[in-house]
Symmetry: C2
Subunit: 178 residues, 2 copies
């Protein structure tokens, strides 16, 4: 699908160069398409940004169904997969920051797995599920952000390895604990 080729290229671009690198022509080049293609599918830049964010949300939706018998483990595996898909996750941070000044983007990103995590935390019987859920999500979000963006990048075990999953699982368990 042409649209997906375009939006996938957009994701790579944003991960590598930031939102500033997201221009119609740059996407054409990155995707190996003739000049003007991106502009034809997404006439305005606003449309391009929205397409990019929609694609991100779609890709993330496919990611995971949590396993009720191994909550911490399945969450850890999801987190690890997000570390592995470094560019996608970086692009997501850029998108979230962008949503700060373009609220339309927020609705596109709602109902992602991250929202599910909050819901999950609520079900685990904390005394104050609202806050516990927020703290839990914050912790996971922070863990990812810290590893990918903070502290001179890539702290901790190599993503995609069993050690990485184990390390993340420990952290998730700690966070789930009341």
């Amino acid at each position: 699908m042409r649209r997906d080729v375009i939006t996938d290229a957009a994701i790579q671009l944003v991960a590598e160069q930031g939102m500033r690198g997201l221009t119609h022509r740059a996407v054409d080049r990155r995707a190996g398409l003739p000049e003007g293609s991106t502009s034809a599918y997404f006439r305005t830049r606003k449309a391009l940004v929205e397409g990019f964010v929609e694609r991100l949300a779609d890709l993330e939706r496919l990611d995971v169904v949590p396993d009720p018998d191994d909550v911490a483990g399945s969450i850890a595996r999801t987190l690890d997969s997000w570390l592995v898909e470094r560019n996608r996750t970086l692009a997501r941070y850029a998108a979230m920051l962008e949503a700060t000044h373009h609220p339309e983007l927020k609705s596109i990103m709602a109902h992602s797995p991250r929202e599910q995590a909050t819901a999950l935390a609520k079900m685990l019987g904390h005394t104050d599920p609202e806050r516990a859920g927020a703290h839990f999500t914050a912790f996971l979000e922070g863990l990812l952000f810290y590893r990918l963006v903070g502290a001179g990048s890539t702290v901790g075990p190599e993503p995609g390895t069993p050690e990485s999953v184990r390390d993340l699982k420990d952290a998730v368990e700690k966070a789930l604990r009341p």
Copy 2:
């Protein structure tokens, strides 16, 4: 100081419009300076970005000295002040993301209070201070990020209020616990 006027305007701009809004002329306008001023002080865009990040680091350095008698409380107050200075913190996230593809920026941002937090955690006698410090920092970073950027913005109590500080303090205490 002219340079500070310029870089302060840059920070506002980035917070409000993202890195894409950071152009020489936009800074001139935002700072109410005659066109060309920013370009005179920061000839290239790279220089402008570096100036902006340096200013951020400087401002943050002034922020806090942790109180040894009330570790959680003083950290909570710092976090709260970062929530209050919303634009500065948003600009910081943009800068961190930018540092992902421009490593020179990382060295400018090193030795910020956030690094101190890691060091602090190490001193609190966890069995694995390295990881505990990382988790601690991740949690705080995530808490901030979640409140400011994630989840449709501003969850939790109004920043700057005693309730906000109390809420943060609870979270910090939980995170400090082994």
